[in-house]
């Protein structure tokens, strides 16, 4: 960590996006996490993704719970809306915010403690309701703020920094999200921005519940031999099923991919995902096959990463509830109080 703010100077030739912003304009305050924390790399990836998508910062809402991971929204998108909720309660607050104003982009940022322990139920219900959001779990398998106890995502048999073995079964949030109906499920690694940034972009553009599990080594308490969430372990056991290029609706599609190796997935908003297949038979549209593959590789001790499942035509909570199209704060008295004739009509329909 550093006591200095990052100097305001930036490279004089730093590129700008369609809005005229550099990626520096998407930064927040300087991080107070430990030096080398994986979470800081995820922060940088979020900044890069929002910069590349040319998102207006004031159209984004970032919400988090409690924990190292949940501190990170302070470190990115300093000009966006932010909400630090009670521990584990980010999904409910996000759901409420989303229902009130469907026009904002919702980034839910959470950790393995916040989502797999105290907020496990909240996580499950936000996913199964199909809230249109990006739900990022910065997953380090350890309680860093309380000095290194195993979290619920720590693998059985992995060792703590002090040499203790974890005997409990681990929760695989990707498997749970898949089972609960998330329409976009991916896993990535904080040490691989080449994979992570396009996944975040694709998740943001996905109009449904997008879940991203990002392995993020804790350099202070979980980066030792015997850990299954260390830089070395993840690099050695990483089984990436695909590499993703995110193609925004504005970009012309480039078709210089070798046939058979690349699958183009159209998203609802017109953006396209070019998936470069690394596992030849992997089908990102089959929830069942994806879950099978996940279990199989997990049993072999590997960490499956990449875009694991995507529903090209997702539905979200607003559709299920048939809500009004406009944000609630734009509704005037005329819409909210349509008059006695309308009331009569409703009453008649209930008789």
């Amino acid at each position: 960590m550093t006591y200095l703010a990052k100097p305001k100077f930036h490279h004089p030739a730093l590129p700008k996006n369609a809005l005229g912003f550099t990626h520096r304009d998407y930064e927040g305050s300087v991080s107070t996490l430990c030096a080398g924390c994986g979470h800081d790399s995820i922060t940088a990836a979020v900044i890069e993704a929002c910069y590349e998508l040319s998102l207006p910062p004031h159209r984004i809402a970032k919400l988090s719970g409690i924990g190292c991971s949940s501190k990170t929204p302070t470190y990115f998108l300093g000009n966006s809306h932010g909400f630090n909720t009670v521990h584990g309660r980010m999904p409910s607050v996000l759901t409420g915010a989303n229902l009130a104003n469907r026009d904002l982009i919702y980034l839910g940022v959470s950790g393995d403690g916040d989502s797999a322990s105290i907020g496990f139920g909240q996580f499950a219900h936000a996913i199964r309701r199909g809230v249109n959001m990006v739900y990022i779990v910065e997953n380090n398998g350890v309680y860093g703020l309380t000095k290194g106890q195993f979290s619920a995502t720590a693998d059985r048999g992995s060792k703590s920094k002090r040499g203790l073995t974890n005997n409990d079964s681990s929760i695989d949030l990707v498997a749970v999200a898949m089972q609960l109906g998330a329409t976009f499920v991916a896993r990535s690694f904080s040490g691989d921005k080449g994979q992570l940034v396009p996944l975040i972009k694709a998740a943001i553009e996905h109009e449904g519940a997008a879940f991203l599990d990002v392995l993020s080594p804790c350099v202070a308490f979980n980066n030792h031999a015997g850990s299954t969430k260390s830089f070395d372990y993840v690099r050695e056991h990483n089984d990436a099923v695909n590499r993703l290029d995110f193609i925004s609706p504005r970009d012309a599609i480039k078709v210089d991919y070798e046939p058979g190796t690349t699958q183009i997935v159209e998203q609802h908003d017109g953006s396209r995902l070019a998936l470069h297949k690394l596992a030849p038979d992997y089908d990102v549209h089959s929830r069942i096959a994806a879950m099978n593959y996940l279990m199989e590789r997990q049993a072999a001790g590997e960490v499956v990463t990449g875009l694991l499942y995507v529903e090209p035509d997702p539905e979200d909570l607003h559709k299920h509830l048939n809500t009004v199209k406009a944000p609630l704060n734009t509704l005037e008295a005329k819409e909210l109080s349509p008059g006695s004739a309308a009331l009569e009509k409703i009453n008649a329909s209930l008789r």
Binding site: M1, K6, P7, K8, H11, P12, A35, F231
Partner: protein, 596 residues
């Protein structure tokens, strides 16, 4: 791309752009840090060791360091390095105790130095403490050479010259003023062990156009006129003055004229404003004193009436590129322009002249009638005779004269110790970690966002009344501190140890200038494109290091690194460290001798 050898003394030296650009390689960031600490004496002595005349250069240097300054690539203006040098001279205490002592015993070797300007004085300063008996000859009664005769007093007061020449003359040097050397042959006959020629470029170029002879009374050669002004022989000039020429001498001439009765003073230059040889700040100073600069006008004729100058006729020209892409000045065809005036100062360049060097003393001259001088050893073709300053390669400036002086002194010392003068010693290099704690460094790594501070000036009305009143008042200590804080500490180097790196990307993410990447190694041109802002400044190196677990390399673009140390603060394993790189040029002395 080849891995970077950071142990090679030049690699990190080049990163310290200012020091690399300085002919005398003054450790600039080191003395600027000492100014911040209020340690003016130490800051002065660091300068004194490298450039011999900190107070003089702090007012007059051509400052090759400033265009090189990294700050100028990060924001608009470089650090005011030159004027900070003056700060060390202005606020130091008595430094006589810190100066070297005259040699207790002489070594019996005699060195003659022709000319008492910066080059000769630098040679004498390096050699005298080693026991050499140095004898300096100058035509003027006091030492200083062109620093005293040609630089106006309102830029460089005599007291500063007296003080800094004094430090040198106090080293047990014999100064023979008022004596012009008229024959090198005769000097050689006096059996000196070595002779150094630092006689400058004393001849101002004339302008041979119609009317020159007829109006001669009111047409003056710039450097001769400045010298007469300096010594008080000239105290007045006409009301309307035209200065011909666009160099620094022209700027000194016009500003001096404004102080000696010139009310309507203008500078007329053949070239465009941008192409003028004068330093930008000297042009600024002239314009500030209400002196207009007219460009693209070629003097054609001096007009006169009854032997009295009445004005100058100019032809209008424009710049055009010829087929080979060279810029030429061609007439526009517009009618000539006549500027009336009372006096003209001709400052169209100066040249060397060696009528006093006989051509049969073993010194070879080239086709431009310049002595053949080795640019490293400063030796002429006569093994006993060395050259330096303007007399070596034509008019340059004081800091080059000093650099030549160091080199010549080193050659003389080696020669008279019976060594090969072409074997040059390496500079002394030290590299040391600046880490004091988790986020504590022995230097101030917080980056100041301040814009360049201006040096306070004396009120114009007052300044123009007295030719001896110094115009620049210098930074006060508060301004000096603020300006010093703008220095990016480029000598505190980012040193990377790949074997410690866990490739967590923390340095990549925190770097404010996006100058670090981790990537598979590739050709340099390819690597340069991989940064968020491509590394297009080819004069700046890429730092490439390996030993990473993934087999990739770390590549750092040195170009706009702020040396803020955030990469090192963010590094969980100490793979990055901030290490101060000090490079000390080896001058004449024990350090320069062959080890064998």
């Amino acid at each position: 791309m080849k891995l970077t050898d950071i142990a090679a003394p030049d690699y990190f030296h080049k990163v310290v752009d200012c020091q690399w650009a300085c002919p005398a390689h003054t450790p600039v960031p080191e003395y600027i840090r000492l100014i911040s600490e209020g340690r003016y004496d130490d800051a002065y002595m660091i300068n004194w060791k490298s450039n011999v005349f900190p107070g003089i250069l702090g007012r007059t240097c051509d400052r090759p360091c400033e265009p090189a300054c990294r700050r100028g690539r990060v924001e608009k203006d470089p650090v005011a390095i030159c004027r900070l040098k003056r700060v060390t001279a202005d606020y130091k205490n008595d430094v006589t105790g810190l100066m070297p002592k005259p040699a207790a015993t002489k070594n019996g070797k005699r060195v003659a130095l022709v000319g008492g300007g910066p080059a000769s004085l630098a040679v004498a300063r390096d050699l005298a403490p080693l026991g050499y008996l140095c004898t300096v000859f100058d035509q003027d009664p006091k030492a200083g050479g062109m620093m005293r005769s040609q630089i106006p007093k309102f830029r460089l007061p005599d007291a500063v010259i007296d003080e800094e020449c004094g430090y040198i003359l106090n080293l047990g040097i014999e100064f023979i003023g008022g004596k012009r050397i008229d024959s090198l042959k005769a000097l050689l006959a006096e059996n000196y062990d070595a002779i150094f020629v630092g006689s400058g470029a004393p001849r101002g170029r004339d302008l041979d156009i119609p009317g020159r002879a007829e109006a001669a009374k009111n047409i003056h050669i710039g450097i001769d006129w400045l010298s007469s002004v300096s010594f008080g022989h000239v105290t007045k000039i006409g009301r309307r003055v035209i200065v011909l020429g666009g160099g620094n001498t022209a700027m000194d001439c016009c500003r001096s004229s404004r102080r000696l009765g010139g009310e309507d003073v203008k500078v007329v230059v053949r070239s465009g404003f941008e192409e003028m040889k004068a330093s930008p700040w000297e042009k600024e100073d002239a314009i500030h004193e209400d002196i207009p600069i007219h460009n693209f006008l070629v003097p054609k004729e001096f007009t006169h009436d009854n032997g009295k100058l009445t004005g100058v006729v100019f032809e209008k020209v424009k710049a055009e590129k010829d087929a080979k892409g060279r810029r030429n000045l061609v007439p526009t065809g517009e009618p000539d322009q006549h500027f009336p005036c009372d006096d003209v100062l001709v400052a169209v360049g100066q040249e060397n002249s060696f009528p006093w060097i006989e051509r049969d003393v073993g010194i070879e001259f080239d086709k431009w009638d310049m002595p053949v001088v080795d640019p490293t050893t400063m030796a002429s073709t006569n093994p006993k005779v060395f050259f330096g300053g303007d007399s070596a390669f034509g008019p340059k400036n004081i800091i080059w004269a000093v650099a030549h002086g160091h080199d010549a002194a080193l050659s003389i010392h080696k020669m008279l110790s019976g060594e090969n003068i072409t074997e040059r010693p390496l500079p002394q290099v030290s590299v040391s970690s600046q880490k004091m704690g988790i986020h504590e460094w022995s230097y101030d790594n917080d980056i100041s966002l301040d814009k360049r501070f201006r040096v306070p000036l004396r009120d114009k009305v007052v300044a123009l009344k007295d030719i001896r009143a110094e115009v620049e008042l210098g930074f006060d200590p508060k301004l000096a501190l603020a300006e010093a804080q703008r220095c990016l500490n480029c000598d505190v180097q980012t040193v990377f140890t790949g074997s410690l790196c866990i490739e967590c990307d923390a340095c990549v993410d925190i770097c404010p200038m996006d100058c670090i990447i981790f990537t598979p190694n590739a050709e340099e041109a390819d690597l340069r494109q991989q940064f968020k802002a491509p590394a297009v400044n080819l004069t700046q190196d890429l730092y490439v290091a390996n030993d990473l677990k993934t087999g990739r390399v770390m590549v750092k673009d040195e170009d706009v690194c702020l040396h803020c140390g955030l990469c090192a603060e963010r590094c969980p394993t100490g793979a990055w460290d901030m290490q101060k790189f000090l490079i000390d040029m080896t001058h004449a002395g024990e350090g320069c001798r062959s080890k064998a």
